[in-house]
Symmetry: C2
Subunit: 303 residues, 2 copies
């Protein structure tokens, strides 16, 4: 008996500013990749039209479409309510939210994000990162802390395929804001990558909170203890060190922690240095690899 | 024997963006006040010309000019090197840096700032706040913590007229950056002063570091736990609470701390609420009063 091939699989990581599409054949092989800037802000509500254009561009007249990221937020195509963290990650294929677009021969589903309320009842949220974590687990990542660096860095602790806690840090956004506006930006006319300044920033993160330590970036320069060209590396070390300091605190100072790091080489590099400085190690997961692995699980393709 | 009256006294609090001038007669009575936007950035190096214009505007052909603030920084008129904190504040009159402008009958001095190296060797700096503290001490402020809120909030601990430590927090600047740019700013289309949200922000500051807690501002809104219009108050409480949490930590949780607060009513109000929430009390010192008191001490006028 010959198995009828299923439709091609189109995975879309649809974020606020960008959209990354991955086209796979029905056996899960990557055929084509297409990135554009049609994030949910640019699409401005015309999601069906935007998807139809994308399908036309990829010359698809039928497809199984699986979407993750901000497309499932309140400002996206359809709100896919946040899951509580006790819902196992491997159950994501069963809880996708189905949209019924008027496009013929197109099945369309959105992966929901997660919500976590900490011990004080303060919520945190993720959308998109759950898909990356699913992929890493499918590729046999161990339990423990997962780190997804970026504009809003996410740290998630996974035990037996279930998130037990997670925390977001505004690291990338604060770096961008402070290096483009205000007092510290005026110091950063020149930016050199300086390992010693990055390390000094991490040390400062171990000694005081961010809103005070950030000013030391300026105080070091005006007292001639640091050249202005080192300020950007110092700020980067301070922000990343602040994350690690808080995670170490949450982990009761386990110094031999291995962290599953899902990030582009450019972002990951700084974190690898920082993890080493804090006595931790990184297990690297390339973002495209984990995304494709997740997509196959979500679409039910056995590879 | 009749005492010859001295020259009029012109005090200038000359900052980065603004300049506040106070004209006193030789007996220390305030005659006139003049504020403008001729901060050191706007003056662009032409300090003598800028002072000559100010004297002309105030119709002065002779004066004793005492300046404090960023005018004494490297980017100011003349660098007045930072004093180490063990130099008593009441000795400031003896260590002013004299400039000799080509203006006839004008004596011109700059009050130096202070530098403090913390136990880890990390420097912090102040310029201008030392003058305010001098004035409060002249008006009989007690020893203990002094708080000068603003773009860069300063906390200084004074014992027997000498600074023993101080710390700067980028509170006002981070509030301005985050409420005008980026993820949180998009929530803050409407801003209501909401005491409960301010308090929730202070609680969040007690529970985690700023770079994580700032994201909870967004998570609370997207999970419908807080209306978007409350986000600004929450962020304000979080930033101010972060200061108090760190000061409380440095003070070994002394809960009945009285803080000498030098700030405008608008800024002071939030801090008074926050101090009360943290079990501390505020002793209020109006900024103009302490500045004028400092000026009289600096110029050697006995009142």
């Amino acid at each position: 008996m010959t198995k009828t091939p299923g439709p091609p699989l189109l995975g879309i990581d649809w974020g606020t500013s960008n959209r990354r599409a991955y086209l796979l054949d029905s056996e899960g092989n990557l055929i084509r990749r297409h990135d554009d800037e049609c994030g949910i802000l640019a699409v401005a509500g015309n999601f069906e039209k935007s998807l139809a254009d994308l399908l036309a561009r990829l010359e698809l007249d039928h497809a199984d479409v699986v979407m993750s990221g901000m497309v499932g937020s309140r400002n996206g195509w359809r709100e896919a309510p946040y899951l509580p963290v006790d819902r196992p990650i491997l159950q994501l294929p069963e809880v996708m939210v189905e949209i019924e677009p008027s496009l013929a021969n197109v099945r369309c589903r959105i992966v929901p994000g997660y919500r976590y309320d900490d011990v004080h009842g303060t919520p945190d949220v993720m959308r998109g990162e759950e898909t990356q974590i699913l992929g890493a687990l499918a590729l046999s990542a161990s339990s423990g802390w997962f780190l997804l660096p970026g504009t809003h860095s996410k740290w998630a602790r996974i035990e037996h395929g279930t998130i037990t806690e997670f925390a977001t840090f505004m690291t990338g956004e604060l770096y961008a804001l402070l290096s483009h506006h205000g007092t510290l930006a005026t110091l950063m006319q020149e930016k050199e990558p300086v390992p010693a300044a990055f390390e000094a920033g991490m040390k400062a993160a171990q000694q005081s909170g961010f809103t005070h330590a950030a000013f030391s970036c300026r105080a070091l320069v005006v007292t001639d203890a640091m050249p202005a060209a080192h300020a950007a590396s110092y700020l980067s070390g301070l922000l990343i060190g602040t994350e690690l300091q808080e995670i170490r605190y949450r982990t009761n100072d386990q110094t031999s922690l291995a962290v599953q790091l899902i990030g582009t080489p450019e972002l990951a590099r700084h974190y690898v240095d920082a993890l080493e400085f804090f006595g931790m190690t990184a297990v690297m997961w390339p973002p495209d690899d984990v995304y494709l692995a997740a997509l196959r699980v979500l679409a039910g393709i056995n590879t």
